[in-house]
Amino acid sequence: MSRIAKRFATLKAENRAGLVSFIMANDPDRATCQRVLNGLPAAGADLIELGMPFTDPMADGPAIQLAAQRALAAGGSLRGTLEMVAEFRKTDKDTPVILMGYYNPIYAWGAEKFAGDAALAGVDGLIIVDLPPEEAGELVPHLRAAAIDFIVLTTPTSDDARLPVVLANASGFVYYVSIAGITGTGSATKSAIEEAVSRIRHHTDLPVCVGFGIKTPDQAAEVARLAEGAVVGSAIVSVLAETKSAEAPLALVKELAVGVREARR
């Protein structure tokens, strides 16, 4: 069983949702970022999304755009991102790590070679923002061969006709992008999320994680009642940007984890 499947099985047994926390690799520098990454499981992150820095993050709002700029200015690269995952795996064998970003750095690496190298580093899944099902055929078979999950994004614009097309490639879990917009901006209403998640469940048995616009423990708790996971990114990244230390973002993750863990009690 993959780390991702195992983790969701454990969460189910504990009758709770998971906290999925996002940070950008190499933000604000390698050492600080590695401290945050290594500290995430103890702070209560159940799954980790690690951003692959890219010069042109077209689907991201200001917080994550700036994180990518800081990461690149500090020498960040796809190679560095894999090195960080390998380093993390020295101390944690169980927490799933999902890389999230844009396709060009992977294409430049070579899709097949990258899948193999990512698996060696200990990567469990990939979220590629600009690789819709229409183009995913050039990457997905290589990921399957390397036992890496391709996590698909569904959005408020994914209707019942579109969902089966998107979900055809899916494994691991489904990431529901709860607003039609960029990261770190507006938040969806509870009823909108509820409706969307139930629609997704008609088409798949995979766990559903909800992201975009979740900033506070209360919001995370609300989502945790509706889905298998709540994704928080921009809020953590913003705290890291303000303090430039590993402690403050980990403290926020702790608060978010409490929100998620207490949601179904």
């Binding site: 010069t55 042109d56 991201d60 060009n104 819709p132 183009e135 959005t155 209707d159 039609a180």
Partner: protein, 407 residues
């Protein structure tokens, strides 16, 4: 796949020209992109759509514009017979308006009321603001703050036309960054908004659609040169940023083997320094919805382009150009900033025509090869736009010696 006996059949049904093109966009946008594709296919098959497009090109844009025999440039070059396709005489002063007319009609068919666009030199922004004024639609233009500074007259024109100009400060604050922000806007306003892309790039169907609307340039050239000379031209020369004026001129001639076709990229300070020559100095990658040649580093990070001409200052190129490059049908060359400035002055002084700095790249390359060609060689240069917008950039480039008093 394209069949072997034609260069004009692409893209395939998935929007691919060979390995180039495609639809590399966020899932939020995919349903809308598919709608645009469907709506465009329906419009293309509708004679009423075509008739309204042609009517507006004639009555509003002022087409056909002349294919002008440039006697003094011909004499100065001392070889090939030089013709200028006068896109600069279109309403709003560049070829950009052709595509904007087509797409605003499509946006109206799709029931969209809000139009967004990116712009580099401001010509596409002005053309978009113009058609939005004409059709009474809300208009938001994304423009890099670097470009706003060097193209101030166009910024003010857009504002006068009722558009909101949003400055973009990320990255180098030029065309690439403006396109990022336009895509972010689109993802956030999918229901209300139509993205009017200004060049033959972006996700399918944009590269093919923009090419189709711009092909009026090449179609006219074909009829005009037949009328003037009784035969096809021997060569075509056009500048390339994203490549829409070039594709519009080239496409109707791709299957004429006797016609030599040359695209001129911007070599900026030089190919070993900062430049914008994606085909000459880049490699295939994925950005802004399509796979195409991109300026990038070994890690797949996109490099900043440089050209003195804001309209060519982009690290990518339309995917069909990438395919024509690899297939060898079109020659792609490059011209440096200083060579373009020189050609700008030459055309202005000799012909009394102030060309856009973008088009000046094409003139400069023509000036390199024309002297060695026979006098009966017919060469068509696409004069894609007028250069009034570039006067202060030129004054700066020339310093106090010539026009310094202006800056």
């Amino acid at each position: 796949m394209q069949s072997l006996n034609t260069y004009r059949a692409g893209p395939d049904e998935r929007g691919h020209f060979g390995i180039f093109g495609g639809r590399y966009v966020a899932e939020t946008l995919m349903p809308l992109i598919l709608q645009v594709e469907k709506a465009y296919a329906a419009a293309k098959a509708d004679p009423a759509f075509e008739a309204e497009f042609r009517e507006l090109l004639a009555q509003y844009v002022g087409r056909p514009n002349p294919l002008y025999f440039a006697r003094r440039l011909t004499e100065a070059f001392g070889g090939a017979k030089i013709f200028l396709k006068r896109e600069d005489l279109n309403h709003t002063g560049a070829h950009k308006i052709n595509n904007c007319i087509g797409q605003i009609l499509l946006a109206r068919r799709m029931g969209k009321q809000r139009i967004i666009a990116e712009t580099g030199a401001g010509q596409h922004g002005v053309a978009t603001a113009t058609v939005c004024a004409l059709f009474g639609m809300q208009c938001v233009i994304y423009m890099g703050s670097t470009d706003i500074e060097r193209q101030m007259p166009n910024v003010y024109r857009m504002k006068l036309l009722g558009a909101e100009v949003k400055p973009v400060t990320s990255g180098a604050a030029t065309l690439k960054d403006a396109m990022n922000d336009a895509l972010r806007d689109w993802v956030s306003n999918v229901d209300s908004t139509y993205y009017l892309i200004g060049t033959v790039a972006g996700p399918h169907p944009y590269p093919a659609m923009v090419r189709d609307f711009q092909s009026v340039i090449g179609e006219e050239v074909r009829a005009q040169i037949m009328a003037a000379e009784g035969r096809l031209p021997d060569s075509l020369v056009a500048c390339i940023g994203g490549g829409s004026n070039a594709m519009g001129l080239f496409h109707p001639f791709l299957d004429e083997p006797s016609v030599r076709i040359i695209g001129v990229e911007a070599a900026g300070h030089g190919l070993d320094k900062l430049h914008a020559a994606s085909l000459t100095g880049g490699k295939p990658g994925v950005l802004h919805g399509n796979r195409t040649y991109l300026l990038q580093d070994g890690d797949g990070q996109i490099a900043e382009a440089h050209s003195i001409s804001a309209g060519l200052d982009y690290p990518g190129i339309g995917p069909e150009h990438s395919w024509l490059h690899e297939s060898g049908r079109v020659e792609y060359v490059s011209i440096k900033d200083d060579e373009a400035v020189e050609a700008f002055q030459q055309c202005t002084r000799l012909e009394g025509i102030i060309p856009a700095l973008e088009s000046s790249h094409a003139i400069a390359y023509a000036g390199k090869i024309a002297p060695n060609l026979p006098k009966d060689h017919l060469m068509v240069i696409n004069l894609s736009g007028r250069g009034d917008k570039d006067v202060s950039t030129i004054a700066k480039a020339l310093g106090d010696v010539h026009l310094g008093g202006l800056v």
